[in-house]
Amino acid sequence: MTLARLEHAGKIYGQKVRTRALQPTDLEVRDGEIVLLLGPSGSGKTTLLNLLGGLDAPSEGRVVVNERDLGALGRRQLTLFRRESIGFIFQFFNLVPSLTARENVQLAAELAGSDGRTADMWLGRVGLAGLEDRFPSELSGGQQQRVAIARALAKRPRLLLADEPTGALDQETGQSVLALLRQAAADEKCAVVVVTHDENLVAFADRVIRLRDGKMVSDTRRS
């Protein structure tokens, strides 16, 4: 079943100097799919991800997620929609520095109406049992990213969006993070869209979409 789709959605930035970041694109993401958006810097992959997540609005076309046209939603409705349906994982983790690992996860869980006590369970699932009371500054990069993954999953999102989740990590740590994402996707039955420039991550995904210069150049499903 189609969870999210772009219908001829494109993005132009700037008013005086207009930059085409993404050509009008048609794309569908299905339930449970793990999609890799691959391309060099400036290829439009992050732009596409931001459109899917409602962090940005398309300049043309529309974005539909979970049967809801994101363009038709007001700012508050969009925020609530993200709260209920979308999980984000950022390259630089974006954890709240004044909250512990547990509390960063609780923040997301409570927003989504879950019991905040499940935070420890989520942290355990990402391999951080025993580190619940540490602050982000007391964790390594890999551990911080795991906290970010736990935070994203605690909302039980339909769609999990990860922007360069291994960009700040070494290869071994990055691989373990991806494995975690994959397992979580299977367990939670959510679609995962990962943005990366790293060709080594191809094996991780069910489907690889390559972009170059704001245009989708290939869309390959791995068997």
Binding site: G53, R75, E84, V96, S98, L111
Partner: protein, 769 residues
Amino acid sequence: MLLARKLMRELRMQKGQAFAVFAVTSLGVLLFVASAGAYLDLSASYADSRARLALAQLHVDVTTAGAADVTQTAGLPHVRAVEGRAVTSLPVDIGDERVELRLLSLPDAAAPRLDKLLLSEGRLPEAADEIVIEKHLAEHHKLRSGSTVRNAADGRALRIVGIGASAEYLWVARDEHDVMPSPDSFGVGWRRGHGGPFNQLLVDCAPGDDGAVTAELQRTLGKRLVDVVPAMQLPGVRLLQMDVEGYKGMAAFFPLLFLGVGAFIVAALLGRLVDAQRPLIGTFLALGVGRGRVLAHYLAYALALGGSGALAGAIAGLVAAPALTREYAVELGIPFVTATLRWSLALSGVAVGVGVALFAGALPALHACRLHPAEAMRPPRPSTGPLARAARRLRASLPWRMAVRDVLGRPLRSVGTAFGVAAALLLVLTTGAMLDSMRMVITRLFHDARRYDLRVDFAAPEPLDQVRARLGAIPGVTAVEGVLTLPIALSAHGKIERDVLLQGLRDDPRLLRSVRLDGSVASPAAGGIVLTHAIATDLGVRVGDEVTAQLMSSGASASFRVGALADATLGKTASARRSDVARSFGLDQYVSSAVLSVRAADAARARRAVAGLPDAEHVEDVGQLREQIGAAMGLGWVMLLVMLLCSVVLAAAILFNTATLGIIERRRELATMRALGRTLREIALGLTMEHALLCVAGLALGFPLSVWAIRHVLGLFSSDLFRLPFVLSPTTAATAAIGVLIVLLVAQWPALRLVARESLAEAVRTREG
């Protein structure tokens, strides 16, 4: 060069905050240069006016003196010049008013060489029926050269041939105890002496020779010598000088406040800039940029922010000072005005403004250059101090925990914000308290202490019964209280306080009372005396101590015990029971003054009737006195209100700056929250909690600081003639505190709107720094 370009671009990007610093610093320096310049010019102008009008250094009151005494005094060592004059009082009718006219004699057929007369209209008098009157009297009664007034004693007309002023009466004070008489009851004039005897010698000498010349006068004049008053102790001269000195206090205190606020904003801005640019600083250091250059770069920010404001303020102050001087001089009546462009003061202002900015920026700049490159390129660690650790253990809902940890986890920043709130509160409370204090003094004086409508002083003590009967018979008079008023000198512990007016009041006074500044009545007990705090301090006495009162006229003395201190007075006064004063000085059942209450409808008629009494030397109308004080304070009220407005604007600037910086530097965190699904309203609520906590801390710090500042400022305006009490009404305090809180919370909104409008996609990708 490149770093300079970086600086200019970044300043342009923070136009709002940079302008705030520019505005506050330039205002502070402008106030400093303008007020200090005006004070220096006013002081110089007043001194120049006294010199050009040849104000005699000593005013020597004698029982009688003649030309021979003048010649003898002129021959004394250190004496530069002497003139004799007669000072008399004449009741004159001006329109419907009976006015006590103090006439000063002029030398025969010549202009005076001492205490000169500055004519603004007309000429000096020649004939016996010609007078020159002082300009305040002329303005009030709309008199011109050619007008006539009538001598009430003999009914003869006196022709006004000129309007003038003298250094002694630029501020018209009747005496130490009646420092603001209404022109409806008292005025000054001049006429020819026509060879008559003198009762005052004007003696000029150098100020340092006062003591030596006074000793010689005591030797040569003997018992004829009544009093020697140095020029600067003349009541009118003293009060005018006090007014001028008041500007000195203003020139120091308010610029200090403004520059302090400017320093705070510079420190906050620069501190946050350094925090935000940590990775950049780490990169510079890693690339090999020297620490000295990094220090200089961030100090240059402070210099650019504060220096530009200081320069603008100094130029504006330089231009404003002469205008301010002229305005004040007109208000004070100083005739010869020197208004100069004080370049050295302007340079000082620039130096002060630049110095304050550099001082404020030094700490963040030093912090920047001391960063370790690797440490700088990592996100700052939350504080691990005791407060932060305590905050981590807090059991509360998540939003409260976040708010408390954000406050306690960044102690320096939080303290800076709290100081900002405290500074805002201090500014508003100080001016608010000054207004409260002045209002309270007026209330105590006219509502609690002087509850009469008219006061009449007789030429000599009179029997109480007769006074009651005569005054009580005047239509409209509803109550009469006799007062035995005697000029005395008080002494204790080897110290003497001269020219004190002892008021003997009835045992249960209702119309004239000694009142403390809290409104309670300080009634003298049997054998007791009530003093002002200033007199008590000068004599070194406390409640329970004994003082000796000596009559200025006869030298008779009596002892009293200090029963209480009361300050709702104008002038140097003390009070005791009338029966005690009468018994001590042999004036049983006599009074020298009376205070009356009068029906409003009959007030004018009653005043004329009382002033028309042949033995009435002086009549005071409390309503007119109140108007006089109101007029004299007019400019003062305006200045205070302007200060209050400036304080409110400054306070708002501090709070807006604080709230804006605090939100903008957390863009990524706030964007992440929104990406996770927190609405703007929820985010705003969290920020409101934080700011509320900081506001409470700031208010807790600000109140004691404000109390200190208020006491200091009020002390600048108090003297032995009147005291401004410390008054901070609950309404003022509550309004200021609530106002600060509201402004701080409202100040969040522009920054929150900025955050709401920006691209979430960009904000979530910004690197922590």
